[in-house]
Amino acid sequence: MFGNSVLVKDVLVKRCDRYRLSSFILIGFAALLFFAVLLTDPLGIMRNSFTLLSATSFIGGAFLFALGGGRSVDARLAGWLSMQGISTLGHIIHDLGGHGAAVFLPPNGEGGEVMQFIPTQPASQSFLGDGGGFACHNGITGTLYRPLAGPMIEVLKREDGLTLPSEYSLLMVAVREVCEDVLSIADRVDVRQEGDTVTFTLHNYLLFPGCASLRERPSELCALCPCSICGLIACMVAEGLKCEVCLDQVILDDTSRSHCMQISYILKKSEGVPT
């Protein structure tokens, strides 16, 4: 099953190469057809059906050429790289007293950035010293970090023109675009909201193998120290809706043909979750 999943992901990663290869074949075919028409019927070239076929191939080839591009990477390697250090980092945070689920806090005003608050157990605070480095949020003491996805969201804004709308439905479109079009980590992203919980389903998730290897270890690590992708979606939601976001659970589904990952977040906002 694992080998099959790797094959599916490899095919997904090589999509860009297929586009370019197909475009070269189509443009070559268009040129051949055009020269064939030019040699056989030079006077009626504008009205020959094969000229239309040649134009069809050329336009299709140009379109595929534009859609392709980008350098491919082995899906397993990408998956493992994305998860590298998550387990160790999670254990360090846990050993330093971190517990529960990390909370993504919205930016404080213009120019601010999303921060990640990790609650700590009261016993560990005396162990770590006089309270230096700790933050207090809603009466809970914890530590405040820049999330792992912080640099990624900056790059997306700077290089890919990402804008985060404040309306819920539009923000979900932006999340879909980032996952499907910009990062190409999933073929399709579904969003479902039930009360304060929002669930994103990433179909044909590219980094599935790396995520699956992490899920063999204690699952609390995912909530305590979300990886770049889970963190990225949480950051986008927190920044867009200006609400606190907490990773609830991650469900991996490798039974269907396209491997899916469901990520559930709990949104906390004083004036209620926008709909």
């Binding site: 586009y19 000229t51 134009a55 140009a62 379109f63 499907e180 910009v182």
Partner: protein, 95 residues
């Protein structure tokens, strides 16, 4: 091994490619059946389909690298479309 799965998990780039191909084959097929094969007219119809598809697939809140390349192709297509329209208008005026 099929590269993409026909159905709900198809990527929109795959859907766009297939739609454009289907549109152009339909137009060229109809023109052939109606004995009206004419390159300029075909280019006009095909590029209208191309522009509609580009409009449908372009993301609203991001600008991925591929869409910037598609915009470049669309600019060239606009020039070609303008030339075709201009030539067609000249033909009509002469007629």
């Amino acid at each position: 091994m099929c590269g993409f799965v026909i159905g709900s998990t198809m990527h929109k780039k795959d859907i766009a490619s297939i739609t454009l191909a289907a549109w152009m084959f339909t137009v060229s097929g109809l023109m052939h059946l109606l004995h009206a094969s004419e390159l300029k007219m075909f280019l006009g119809f095909a590029l209208v389909g191309f522009f509609v598809i580009v409009y449908m697939i372009h993301p609203m809140y991001t600008k991925p690298r591929y869409i910037r390349d598609v915009y470049h192709v669309a600019m060239v297509a606009t020039v070609v479309f303008g030339i075709v329209t201009y030539l067609r208008m000249l033909e009509l005026l002469n007629w």
